[in-house]
Amino acid sequence: MSSTRRRSAGRAVAAACEVVVTVALATALVAALDAVAPTSGLAVVYLLAVLTVAIRRGWPAALATAVVSVLAFNYFFIAPVHRLTIADRENVAALLVFLVVAVVVGRLAAAARDRAAEAEARARIAAQREDEAEMLAGIATLLLRGSSLDRQLDAIAARVARAVGAPVRLERSSAPASRADERSVPIPVSHGRLWAHLPRDAAPDEDVLGRVRHGLAAIVDIAAERERATARAAEADSAQRADIAKTAVLHAISHDLRSPLTAITTAAAGLGDERIDDADRAELVSVVRDESARLAQLVDDLLDLSRVQAGAVNPRVDWLDVNEVVGRAAAQVEAARVSIELPVDLPLVRADATQMERVFLNLLDNAVRFSPPGRPVRVTGGAASGQVTVRVIDEGPGVPLGQADAVFEPFYRGRRGSGPAGENGAGGGAGAGLGLAICRGFVEANGGRLLLQRPTGGHGAIFAVSLPAARPPAEPA
């Protein structure tokens, strides 16, 4: 037996009880009034009963009340009392009239009741639709706020759950991954698949669910389309920026390659002239020497950079004592200006010796170049949580806020130098802005990290190199 049928049977029993009780009450009232009023006039009381039941229970119950009322009136009050027979013909006519009146009244009242119920139902549906519309608008707002569809799925599911009156889980995937105690309802989106999972034992409002599915699908479609459009725009934008960057890099390289070549060519032509004196000859020779060195440095840097960018750094990993590597690098810059304050008992690391020396040489060279004259460059460090960290600390002008990552971009040229630009621009020292990009590439290829840190208070820059500490196997005694 279905629940609907069970429910309507229950309603019928309740209506029957109400009919009986109402008629009984009316009978009791008539009995009470019988003493003060003529019995025949009191049939009106039964009309009240019919009216009440008609309003509360509708037409069939009203008809039943009318019939039962006639029988009760006949049985209790019309002679012969306590029999369903009628002695007086007049009473037969009265009862018939009463029955007709009761039926008509019941019918009218029931019709009025039905219209009221219908209006009420309509109002309820309208309110429900309004709730659904509000929910969909809320979802649309969520998605328009710019966050991604996938990240909003749970928030959307919560709203849908409130509308259908049961827990809902939303999932975007080609096949629904519902749990054993869930059923999956497809949301008809046009790209991909979207599923609503509901617990099997919940009783959601199926009508609402059916309607909401379509509205939800439309909104999700729009959001997905918007996401695709945004992604396409971002792609186009980054491609364009990459183009601009590449062009800038080519300009920088061709300038940096051409100027030493031009200087060398000019000097060689000058040397070929027999009329120049010894001082001029020496000058031209030193131009050739300096510019060749600069060119050599640039070529090495470009090669290293391309190895970094191609992921072909290919370190020759070896056991290294960081102290030793830093010492070697420091010996190649203005040694007096570098103060090495590393603990002597740092753990060994596994890295490429040449590459790490190059990294520290670059960092120290930069630091010395950007430090005010007479101020030392400090190298500190230590081992903590499995990492050996070395910090190269200078007291130069530091790196502008927001450029902490930009300095590691190839061809970044800091405005850090306080000295005259010409001095920094000439000679092998200034470089083409490749040093830090190479350093970071080398450190990362060796399993470490290179970060720019901001000194607490004061100025300057701290470049921190961290490498995983390695525990070598014990030496045989």
């Binding site: 020759r316 056991w319 004592d321 030793e324 830093v326 010492g327 490429d352 040449t354 030496e475």
Partner: protein
């Protein structure tokens, strides 16, 4: 013998480098012969053994490592290899195969002639000829296994002394990691560079004025160690 008579064989397939090197080395007082391939080089060495070989690692018909191996089968004549950035593996292989030293391209000619003179001097004095090696304020008595600093005896462990001894015997010469490990720990060793890192740090703490900036026991990144050459 006089340096002026020293005979240098330059093995490089790059004509412009040969042109420049010939001029520079001649003006520095050397006699210069040249070879452009591995074949030519081995022929030239067999016909007239030079005093020094300057050897490029990349040759059209082979590589410099093979030349080193070939020459070392019958001769100890000094070999200096020319290496470029990025050739580190080849460079170490050549040194392990018996090359004496290296210079990195592009090199300064002063650096190259200094290296040539150093290997010639070592050849003439002979490795380990002097049992008493003085480096700055440190004196190493190889025979007596004694090390003093400013006249005061320094205590070294046997391993530390052996390391120092190998370097002192080949003073000024680059000794590769592999060779050091074999000579000090034994023939089964060669990759255990962590032993070297630890013991070298200890030796430096005992001998160097500033262990962070060594002046006696010098590091050659990724290749090996050498004892500071005679001034």
């Amino acid at each position: 013998m006089t340096e002026a008579a020293a005979h240098v064989l330059v093995v490089d397939d790059e004509p412009q480098i040969l042109r420049g090197l010939k001029v520079v080395l001649r003006s520095a007082g050397f006699q210069v012969a040249q070879a452009a391939t591995k074949r030519e080089a081995l022929d030239a060495i067999a016909v007239r053994p030079p005093d020094v070989i300057i050897l490029d690692l990349v040759l059209p018909d082979g590589n410099g490592v093979e030349v080193c191996e070939e020459v070392r089968r019958w001769s100890t004549l000094p070999i200096i290899v020319l290496s470029a950035v990025g050739d580190e593996r080849e460079k170490v292989r050549a040194l392990d195969a018996g090359a004496d030293d290296y210079v990195t391209k592009p090199f300064g000619t002063d650096e190259l002639t200094a290296r040539i003179r150093a290997v010639l001097r070592r050849r003439d004095t002979g490795d380990g000829a002097d049992p008493l090696v003085r480096v700055g304020e440190v004196t190493i008595d190889v025979a007596a296994r004694r090390v003093t600093r400013d006249g005061a005896e320094v205590h070294l462990t046997p391993i530390e002394f052996d390391l120092l001894r190998v370097l002192a015997v080949h003073r000024g010469k680059l000794v590769t990691h592999r060779r050091l490990l074999r000579e000090v720990w034994g023939p089964g060793y060669g990759e255990e560079t962590h032993y070297l890192r630890v013991h070298v740090a200890h030796i430096r703490r005992k001998l160097e004025r500033d262990p962070a900036r060594p002046e006696i026991l010098l590091t050659d990144a990724g290749v090996g160690y050498r004892l500071a050459p005679e001034p």
